[in-house]
Structure formats: structure tokens, C-alpha cells
């Protein structure tokens, strides 16, 4: 969450609740609603490490709100973030260990493991399809996030299929 918040502040100063709304709007219903508490905690940490600075703004009938802006160090950190490539997603290693170890234990059947895992993936896939159908057609970022999740899941399902072909 740290770097996305910094990135949102690159446009200009904002307070915590605005950032939560921006994030929701950008990522759509696909993304689990960011917890506002978590956002304030993260902002506190970013301020402590000198990447942002907060300024109290008085409000007439309510407590002061803190408006944050990016520091030079924050801008530097963002540059570095965009510069870096990210790690590849990892295969489902916990399931793989179950599959690899099942025959030796005599406690589980490999095909049954695969079938059960597939059911879960298919149900998740169904939920993602529903999310995609319900998402605003114009929110391309949100739709791409869902499509990415679906393609990952498709790859996992293909891999389960390979396991089943080999092990059956």
C-alpha cells in the first residue's frame, strides 16, 4: 500500500479519506475496499520515513484534518519504484507439497486433491466472472485487474490438468 499511496500523492496534496476514495474509484469493486485505518497507519509510517509531510488544516465544526504532500525523497522513492521490475508470481507451493507428499503418507489421494483444488478454482473463477460482469464497463483498470486474476487462475487450472494427466 505504501507506494500506491505515494503515487496518488504525486498528483497533489490530499488527506487520508480522499486517498481511500481515489483508490476505490481507480480499482473498482474488484479490489477489496481499502481499510481507512490501514491507510492512516501507512501515511503515518510514510511521514516518519520522510517520504511525505502532513499539514494540519483546521475545519470549523470538526477536528483538524491532515493534508499530506510528497517530499523530494518521496518523489525519489516513486522513481525507483517505477524503475524496478517485479518478481514473477509464485506457483501454489503449498498445494504442490501436498500433491508431492500425498502418496508417501497414504493419507490422501492425489486425484482427489486435484479435483478438490479444481472445484475451488472454478468457484473462484465464477465469482470473478460475476465481478467482471458487474464492473463498470468504462473502468478499464478494474477490468484488467479482474482479467489478470482470471488468466492466472486459468494457468493454475491448466497446470492441475497437466498434473492429472501425468498422475492418473
Amino acid at each position: 500500500m505504501r507506494l500506491p499511496l505515494l503515487a496518488l500523492l504525486a498528483r497533489g496534496p490530499a488527506h487520508g479519506y480522499e486517498l481511500k476514495q481515489d483508490l476505490e474509484q481507480l480499482l473498482g469493486s474488484a479490489y477489496p475496499q481499502p481499510n481507512v485505518g490501514q491507510i492512516y497507519v501507512t501515511l503515518g509510517r510514510l511521514e516518519k520515513s520522510g517520504l511525505i509531510e502532513g499539514e494540519d488544516v483546521e475545519q470549523s465544526s470538526r477536528p483538524n484534518k491532515k493534508v499530506y504532500h510528497l517530499t523530494d525523497a518521496g518523489r525519489e522513492a516513486l522513481h525507483a519504484w517505477f524503475e524496478e521490475t517485479e518478481d514473477e508470481p509464485r506457483v501454489r507451493d503449498e498445494f504442490f507439497m501436498k500433491l508431492a507428499l500425498a502418496p508417501q503418507t497414504g493419507l490422501a489421494d492425489q486425484i482427489a486433491l486435484i479435483n478438490r483444488q479444481r472445484r475451488q478454482y472454478l468457484n473462484t473463477m465464477r465469482n470473478l466472472s460475476k465481478l467482471a460482469a458487474a464492473e463498470n464497463r468504462d473502468n478499464r483498470v478494474a477490468l484488467l485487474l479482474i482479467e489478470g486474476a482470471m488468466l492466472h487462475l486459468q494457468a493454475d487450472l491448466d497446470w492441475l490438468e497437466r498434473c492429472q494427466e501425468e498422475l492418473e
Binding site: P32, T124, N127, S129, L153, Q154
Partner: protein, 250 residues
């Protein structure tokens, strides 16, 4: 049994072996299957698992070596080629991966032809065609030839043709197999819509995204049903559920 309880489709002990060059290929090795009215069933599995052969058996495009098929409670054991052709006109609609439209007939004629062959009066056939093409977003394409349309449009015409006689059962064999991801989503949306109105669908696909539109998924391996699962959309028993898949790291 009341009418609702008679399965639209039932198969018992289906076996099909292909004898080509080389060793015989055991495409379907003992399949029992029952599809209730209004169900949307997807059959998935690796290529070569025999799922397309199974669908061809269910549509009477190939005959099983062993086993029987019932359509709406009627046993098809004694059906010949001609009788199956009648069933495919009235009781079973089929869409294929490569659309199989008649290339020298216009879109309108492709859709009306099965209605006319089934004895529907021309006026009614035209009305049905107009309604379906409008529904499928193809108004204005009536006079086009199939070759002038995109893959996604051709598949929608094929869907209209398959549904023009209101068959109780729709069979779809890799309907998105030659479409891009936009075309795939379109097919998925349309199948879901017709299913929502009560259309019974059996879909063969290797695409899990497409399969997830169904409410029951059969995993087919090596000529056999390996798993038969109802998709109820229940969130997996895991922290975060579906949103966990989408969660960005903090």
C-alpha cells in the same frame, strides 16, 4: 415421473473407439450422464481427452459403440441418420468451433433455413430470425455473407441458427475456440443470458473462464468423467475468499 423430472438428456454407458491408422483411440470409455431441464453443464479437459467426441455422440453426429442416449425420455437406440437429422433440427441446437455456416447463403438465410426445413411458415421464420438477430446485436447484417463477418459475429449467427427452432437442448463445441478474448466474453455473456431464460446448455470447452459461466462443470480425462462439480459460487473456505486473489500486497 413428471415432465420436469425427465432429464432433457441422459446417457448410459457410452463407449466410442476411433479406428484410424495406428492403435485404436479410446475416445469415450464408459460415460453416464444426466442433464436436467434448465441446467448449464460445461465439460472441460485437455485436448484429446475425448470431450468433443462425447458431444458428437450426444448430438447424434457420431454413433456410440456401446451405450444408449435418451432425449427427453425417448430412447434413441433405434434412430437412423434421418431421424437424428430431424432431432438436430427440432430438439437439439448445435454450435461449433468453426461456426459451420453455409458460406454461399446470407446471414438471414443461414438462420431461416433450419426453421423452413422444420416446416415453419416463411413469415414466422422471418420473424424469428429478425428477433434473434436483433437480440444478438446483428441487425443490419442480414444481407451480409458469412465471410464478410468477424469470427465473433459468425459465431453469433451460428447461435441464432442453433436457437431458431427453440430446441430444448443447446450443444456447444468449443464455441470460443477460434475467437479472441473479446469474442470469448461475448459468447460467454450470450450463453449466460439464454441460460438465464431457461435454455438447457451442454458446453465443451478447454477454457475455464467460459466453463465458469456454467453451474455444473464436468472434468473429462482420458475418455472418462473424473469429476462432476456443481459451481454454487460459494466463496472458497479461505481467508479473503475471492478478494484474496485480487489483493495487492501492502
Amino acid at each position: 415421473m413428471s415432465e420436469d423430472q425427465v432429464p432433457v438428456l441422459r446417457a448410459d454407458g457410452l463407449v466410442k473407439t476411433h479406428h484410424g491408422e495406428g492403435a485404436p483411440a479410446h475416445a469415450v470409455r464408459g460415460v453416464d450422464l444426466s442433464v436436467r431441464r434448465g441446467e448449464f453443464v460445461a465439460i472441460t479437459g485437455p485436448s484429446g481427452a475425448g470431450k468433443s467426441t462425447l458431444l458428437h455422440l450426444l448430438g447424434g453426429l457420431q454413433r456410440p459403440d456401446e451405450g444408449s442416449i435418451w432425449l427427453d425420455g425417448r430412447c434413441t437406440d433405434s434412430f437412423g441418420e434421418a431421424r437424428w437429422a430431424v432431432e438436430r433440427r427440432k430438439a437439439i441446437g448445435i454450435v461449433f468451433q468453426f461456426f459451420n455456416l453455409v458460406s454461399n447463403l446470407s446471414v438471414a438465410d443461414n438462420v431461416e433455413l433450419p426453421a423452413l426445413l422444420a416446416g415453419v411458415p416463411p413469415k414466422k421464420a422471418r420473424a424469428e430470425r429478425e428477433e434473434l438477430l436483433a437480440e444478438l446485436g446483428l441487425t443490419g447484417k442480414e444481407r451480409s455473407m458469412p465471410g464478410e463477418l468477424s469470427g465473433g459475429e459468425q459465431q453469433r449467427v451460428a447461435l441464432a441458427r442453433a436457437l431458431v427452432n427453440h430446441p430444448p437442448l443447446l450443444l456447444a463445441d468449443e464455441p470460443a475456440g477460434s475467437l479472441d478474448s473479446k469474442g470469448t466474453r461475448e459468447v460467454m455473456r450470450l450463453l449466460s443470458r439464454f441460460h438465464g431464460r431457461g435454455q438447457t446448455i451442454v458446453l465443451v470447452t478447454h477454457d475455464a473462464r467460459l466453463a465458469s459461466a456454467a453451474d455444473r462443470v464436468i472434468s473429462f480425462f482420458d475418455g472418462r468423467i473424473a469429476d462432476d462439480a456443481a459451481l454454487d459460487g460459494t466463496p472458497p473456505p479461505r481467508r479473503g475468499g475471492i478478494s484474496g486473489v485480487l489483493e495487492l500486497r501492502d
